[in-house]
């Protein structure tokens, strides 16, 4: 088994450093940030264009307006694009064998990778949030929430991203059993799009689908942060943050379990790859 | 003449920095069947020269002809007449069997079935890779892969074979094997060889002529025999000892002396290596002993009287 760092303080310092590394390397890759924003702007603009052409009654049936649904999409896309394809690093390191050297560090491989990835995600959110909000404002001419709600939205966006990251870590680790993570990623991502309410708030879904969605962690990833912005009343905000916290705890427990199983599988030589 | 270079020059233009001249006024000719080594330290201009001769780079000035073609202007036609082996890039199809890669290359080079079979049989015999033909490339060791790469580069019967660091990363045995095969193959196929390498062993075993390049210029263009006589006789013996401060002995020149370590330089033409080794074993408590050629950089410095 890999060595463990002897003090919690030492481990925390290492993880904090990994976070800073992820943060600074993302800011250094300006062209990638630009590419992510271009992608974000194209998706938001195209869908806003579609929503603008709907019959007004269509959205009203779900108690939605054009501005609300565009801002909703601005926030779900922010979370989805900030994480991107985080699973790939883990998949690639398992497949090319470089994970071998990484497993013998005194801080767990998955913990370090996750910390670095959180740093990258935080950097992307920070880079996209303002221009994204500016674009949404330009498309709608309004903002559905005031400055007072921004902290709650920010916390909820990070919680959504952390949930999504946990899923991506689990997907990446699945490489150890399936030899590739891509198939699992495809399914997980599309389920997230549907059951997490990427394009449409869950409020617009058929009732049975809403029930199914809330049984999964996907709404905590996308719907929750976006709906906090649309319905910034404290009962709703508290409910969404609670749901996110619940799934966050469960997801990262699953990550710890998967990480332990992965190390055991790797060290005992049973790797499918 | 199968290769002719006249005043070849290459200057690279960089944004936000000064232009950099990698090769300057390089002149040489190579005859059919000749085996020539291009040697020089990193950044000397070896790979740049090779790329100009194979049509992968335009020169800034100068002219060249390879097998009658101007490389950068007639690259595709030239490709039928040359073979290229990159030490660090593979031309084979990673997941497929070696045989499949060969079949495919035969189609790419438009080889008729009969000619392809005859050539493949001959080359695989010389390189002793018959047993590897049905193995996927990804399962081959580096030495096996390099032999297959060379075979692949020779299938279409090129007049010139360009080899860019072909023995890089190979162990001693694999290097020796590859060098033997290359030499025999070049003789059997009457193919000129142009080889770049850091490894003096490659030069000594494969080539008959050496072109030494540094800072983009040719410093030396001589038969190997002359180089051997002048510069390759120096050997370095590194001794690791139990003694903390090993004392030098005899007429050997001390190159480096440190804790538990002594490096000596001897002229192998005047001083018997076995005698030096025997003396070392007698005087010192030896833990390890290595004999190697003097580093190429030092030969070059020595060549021009520069201080190390």
């Amino acid at each position: 088994m890999s060595a463990r760092i002897t003090s919690a303080r030492g481990a925390f310092a290492a993880l904090a450093h990994a976070f800073r590394l992820g943060w600074s390397e993302t800011w250094a890759q300006r062209s990638a940030l630009l590419g992510t924003f271009v992608n974000y702007a194209v998706i938001l603009s195209l869908w806003a264009n579609l929503y603008r052409q709907l019959h007004p009654q269509s959205l009203a049936r779900a108690s939605l307006g054009y501005a609300q649904v565009v801002w909703y999409l601005a926030l779900t896309e922010l979370v989805a694009l900030a994480i991107g394809y985080a699973f790939r690093q883990i998949q690639d390191e398992i497949l090319d064998g470089s994970v071998t050297a990484l497993l013998v560090r005194p801080v767990g491989y998955v913990a370090l990778t996750a910390a670095q990835e959180i740093g990258r995600t935080a950097a992307k959110i920070a880079a996209l949030a303002v221009p994204g909000a500016a674009l949404a404002y330009w498309l709608t001419g309004t903002a559905p929430f005031g400055a007072a709600v921004v902290p709650a939205v920010a916390v909820s966006v990070m919680a959504g991203a952390a949930n999504l990251l946990a899923m991506q870590v689990l997907v990446g680790l699945s490489t150890a059993w399936f030899g590739t993570a891509r198939p699992v990623f495809f399914i997980a991502q599309k389920l997230m799009f549907v059951l997490g309410g990427l394009i449409l708030p869950l409020d617009a879904y058929p009732a049975v689908l809403v029930k199914i969605a809330w049984l999964t962690p996907f709404p905590a990833m996308l719907y929750a942060p976006a709906s906090v912005a649309l319905d910034p009343t404290w009962p709703h905000v508290a409910a969404m943050l609670a749901v996110q916290a619940f799934w966050l705890g469960l997801a990262w427990l699953a990550v710890v379990a998967a990480s332990t199983a992965f190390e055991r599988r790797y060290v005992e030589g049973g790797l499918a790859a | 003449m199968i290769v002719e270079a006249k005043g070849l020059t290459k200057t690279f233009v960089r944004a936000r920095s000064e232009p950099f001249t990698a090769v300057s006024g390089v002149d040489f000719t190579i005859d059919a069947g000749e085996r020539v080594a291009f040697i020089g330290p990193n950044g000397a201009g070896k790979s740049t020269t090779l790329k100009m001769l194979t049509g992968l780079l335009y020169p800034s000035a100068g002219a060249a002809r390879v097998a009658g073609f101007v490389p950068w202007a007639e690259r595709r036609r030239l490709a039928y007449e040359i073979g290229i082996v990159f030490g660090q890039r593979s031309q084979l199809w990673y997941h497929l069997r070696v045989r499949d890669s060969f079949d495919l290359l035969a189609k790419i080079y438009g080889l008729g079935a009969k000619l392809y079979r005859a050539r493949a049989e001959r080359i695989t015999n010389v390189l002793q890779i018959e047993a590897l033909l049905d193995e996927p490339v990804k399962t081959l060791s580096l030495g096996q892969r390099m032999r297959c790469e060379i075979a692949a580069a020779l299938l279409h019967g090129p007049k010139v074979l360009f080899l860019d660091e072909p023995t890089i990363g190979l162990d001693v045995t694999a290097k020796a094997l590859l060098r033997e095969h290359l030499k025999h193959l070049a003789e059997a196929e009457d193919t000129a060889i142009v080889l770049t390498s850091h490894d003096i062993g490659d030069i000594e075993h494969i080539c008959a002529r050496v072109i030494l390049v540094n800072h983009g210029r040719i410093l030396l263009d001589e038969p190997l025999e002359n180089l051997r006589a002048s510069f390759l006789r120096e050997k370095r013996i590194t001794i690791v000892t139990e003694d903390e401060r090993p004392e030098p002995f005899g007429a050997a020149v001390v190159v480096e002396r440190g804790p538990h370590r002594l490096t000596l330089s001897i002229d192998a033409s005047t001083c018997a290596i076995d005698e030096v080794v025997a003396e070392a074993l007698k005087r010192l408590r030896v833990r390890d002993l290595t004999i190697e050629n003097a580093p190429l950089e030092e030969i070059i410095r020595h060549l021009y009287g520069e201080r190390p």
Binding site: A32, I43, L200 | R77, G110
Partner: protein
């Protein structure tokens, strides 16, 4: 020997290389197909709420998505190396292809086969079959998808060719291509004029699936000719850009491969 024999041989070798692990290929294909059906669910939810968008219904958009999926599947299964162009420009990987007496661009295009492409083709065909009004429409849609693949691959190559002249990294090229695909995926109705002009010229996303579906809804010889023209003109433009870029590559005025 047939002077073009190397093309199918190269393409087949590429395919065989990936199909050596048939279960892996089948798994990837199947999951990609499921991926596309789940995305269909997103459209179904959208149109469940919307009803239609200026007369465009779920069937129309499904046909767009199906044609795009087939086109994309053809790219990734047979011409998957298009995404490697920028990478090979930057790491000198083009050298291997330049050293051969054949088209380096085709060599690069055939250098990668992604088995998810087969899942895209199969699921795309199923989605078109659901949306199409007749077998003839289904067949015609597949023909359009093949033409669309030509445009799609050309755009990917052209975007990657940026690496000849700029420091555009492979990741940025992928992101720009993903943005391009978004244009191709969504019905291009009610867009600002300048965007529409772009989508019919510099960023020919309209010709991949949207115009074909317009033709399938109401046949227009002019539009059909435009789609065929796009499928021949844009590959020529991409090949021309690549050839121009090769001159710069061979001038060496980029990062040297220094050892």
């Amino acid at each position: 020997m047939n002077r073009f024999a190397w093309i199918p041989a190269l393409g087949l070798a590429n395919l065989r290389s990936e199909l050596l692990r048939p279960w892996n290929a089948a798994l990837l294909g199947a999951f990609m197909a499921i991926n596309n059906f789940v995305w269909f669910g997103v459209w179904a939810l959208f149109f469940g709420l919307a009803g239609d968008v200026r007369g465009w219904t779920l069937r129309d958009v499904t046909e767009i998505y199906g044609i795009l999926a087939v086109a994309y599947g053809i790219y990734s299964a047979f011409f998957g190396g298009a995404r490697n162009v920028a990478l090979f420009i930057q790491n000198g990987g083009l050298d291997v292809y330049l050293g051969r007496p054949r088209s380096p661009l085709l060599g690069v295009l055939f250098s990668r086969c992604d088995p998810t492409g087969f899942g895209d083709i199969a699921s795309g065909a199923v989605l078109i079959a659901w949306a199409a009004g007749s077998p003839a429409e289904w067949l015609l849609a597949l023909v359009f998808a093949t033409l669309g693949a030509s445009v799609l691959v050309s755009v990917y190559v052209a975007i990657n060719c940026l690496a000849f002249w700029t420091s555009a990294r492979p990741r940025l090229c992928d992101q720009l291509f993903e943005s391009f695909l978004q244009f191709a995926m969504v019905p291009q109705i009610g867009l600002p004029v300048f965007v529409t002009v772009l989508l019919y010229t510099v960023l020919p996303a309209a010709f991949i699936a949207f115009v074909p579906v317009e033709i399938l809804r109401a046949f227009s010889l002019g539009k059909a000719a435009a789609v065929v023209a796009a499928a021949t003109v844009f590959p020529a433009i991409a090949a021309g850009l690549f050839r121009l870029g090769l001159r710069r590559y061979a001038s060496g005025n980029r990062a040297l491969d220094v050892r």
